[in-house]
Symmetry: none
Subunit: 198 residues, 4 copies
């Protein structure tokens, strides 16, 4: 009866899931969990609303999955800073210029942190991925290296990481629409926080 074998079905399933996840990321990041309507996600993914429920048990489950991906991506992206070429300051400059998917993930996490209607599980995930436990640990060596090289200003490196990351995170989340009111600042001006130099 079935014209497709198991393997082909798996391929279809994976493709569909990927479509849905991409669509959901866009919509959730821009509109938050309340503003995002399943009808929008379905339309963006090019499928019917009903089909969403073959792949995800609920809106919440889909949201939680995206949060997990966002956290994973953020961690990976931070770890990869060490693979970037150049001195610590050059690594940091490159890291600061995120691609657009990276921005979507930041916005998503921001939405999850600040909105309500966020599933409890998503909140827990984000809480675990706090500054102290991950971000600062990962980036601290880079900053210490920068201070040794005299590129970065002296002082508590963990505070420096925390401040710089908070500022960049905040700017990411602000930059939601192509909004002329707030134009993204020059990277070099931001780096002054770290370098203490003009």
């Amino acid at each position: 009866m079935s014209p497709l074998n198991e393997e082909q079905l798996q391929v279809i399933r994976d493709e569909r899931k990927e479509q849905i996840i991409e669509a959901a990321l866009k919509i959730f990041a821009r509109r938050g969990i309340i503003g995002a309507k399943l009808s929008m996600i379905a339309t963006e993914a090019g499928i019917s609303q009903g089909l969403l429920y073959h792949y995800f048990k609920s809106k919440d489950e889909l949201f939680i999955l995206l949060i997990q991906q966002a956290i994973q991506e953020s961690i990976d992206s931070m770890k990869s800073v060490y693979q970037l070429p150049g001195s610590p300051i050059e690594k940091l400059r490159a890291f600061t210029q995120l691609d657009s998917e990276g921005q979507l993930y930041f916005m998503l996490i921001h939405q999850a942190r600040t909105s309500d209607g966020v599933p409890e599980k998503a909140k827990q995930l984000i809480e675990q991925y706090s500054m102290e436990s991950y971000v600062v640990d990962i980036l601290e060596p880079l900053f210490i290296e920068g201070q040794k090289a005299g590129e970065f200003a002296p002082g508590d490196p963990r505070q420096l990481v925390s401040t710089y990351f908070t500022v960049v995170s905040a700017l990411m989340t602000l930059n939601i629409h192509e909004d002329e009111a707030y134009q993204m600042p020059e990277v070099d001006l931001l780096l002054r926080i770290v370098t203490g130099r003009p």
Copy 2:
């Protein structure tokens, strides 16, 4: 003839309006116009839902009023920077440490800018109050003075204002819950953007 005279009634009305506005500011700022439920605002204000409609024609009207207040407060607060004591850098430092009501206003404007379901009139108001037309104009003299005094780094003062204001705005909006994940950075670290010094 009347059991409560006009003056007493006016007092009651003003009190109620103030209660509602305060409650609405909290709720709207934290949850956005969609996430904010009138039942929450009513409960926060300690009144019934129905009474909201004696004082405001609709949720939208209430939101628009708050946006107008937020814009007015922001402008006033920026203008008042010149009344603060001390050198330009000291004025700016004091200005950066906003009170909590000021923070709510920033969040509100952020919500209005980035969310769905925002009334058209609110959008227009915010568009008028863009960086170029107000904020930069108001703060530019302070920065020029700071540069003349050698406190601020050289360079285009308008770009410096814009960058600093954007960073501070972004941090305000991030700081929504009393969230330990992101702790607010030290002001002195932020001021490095302006001073170019450690």
Copy 3:
């Protein structure tokens, strides 16, 4: 304590009641029991909403009182047709040209008959005041006289009364707004139903 004696109070009470009844008749007749808002009636009567409840227990009670008045007025007006001068046909012509308060009563009864949300008691009152038991009985002698005088067409006089009254009632209720779409017909054309003559 009280600066007004009982008699003066009674005068005030009666005046107020009359104000309210007049206002309510206008509003109920034009908008029906559902479309009529107590706020409108209060405004039309020049009093506060709360005061309505000193004089009437509820919207329904007020409506029922008006229906009673309407029925009484209708009956009185029909009985008075015999006091009008002239031949039967002239009496009937004059009767057909109702004054505006008479029209309001007709509309009110129409509203009560056709709308819902009408209190049960009002329905019962109107049912009792049906064509057979009152209207036809009252007008039948006039029609018999007209037939004897050769002014009215022959045939069952009760059917003639019923038809003519139904047509006039229907036209009254139609004439709600000063609506140019339906202009009220000439009385003489209507009288053809009764006379059978051009």
Copy 4:
């Protein structure tokens, strides 16, 4: 791919729309736009309230659609008078005996003309379909023919049309419930207005 093909879906959709329209016509005609509750329409149509909104954007849109249908049906019905068999008077007699759906449409237009809360667009539609511009134009030739044949009374034919149509309209709107108080008059008595004869 699709479990129900487009044709089958279209059939379902058409059926549902028809169900809803029929139910809405009954309820709106009898209770007006304010008195008609969506819950009643949904129950009468045998569906859930939510489903109404798959087929119609709002209560107003549904009402406007019905008004359009009512106007169209009225015009068609008047034009078809010329297809009826017999002399002008026989055509007019047949035309006067409307079916029950035709009556509902008359009531609906009456409701729209006299009630509150009627959408602006519905008002405009009805205004365009006024006596002068349509009804009289359409029926005038029939009346002129009747006068030539000596069946109809002499005089301004447009006034005769207008009067007769107004009376019939008024009777239609009166006859809302199966109401024994007002029994519908004999057609032959009404036709006396036109013929001027017993």
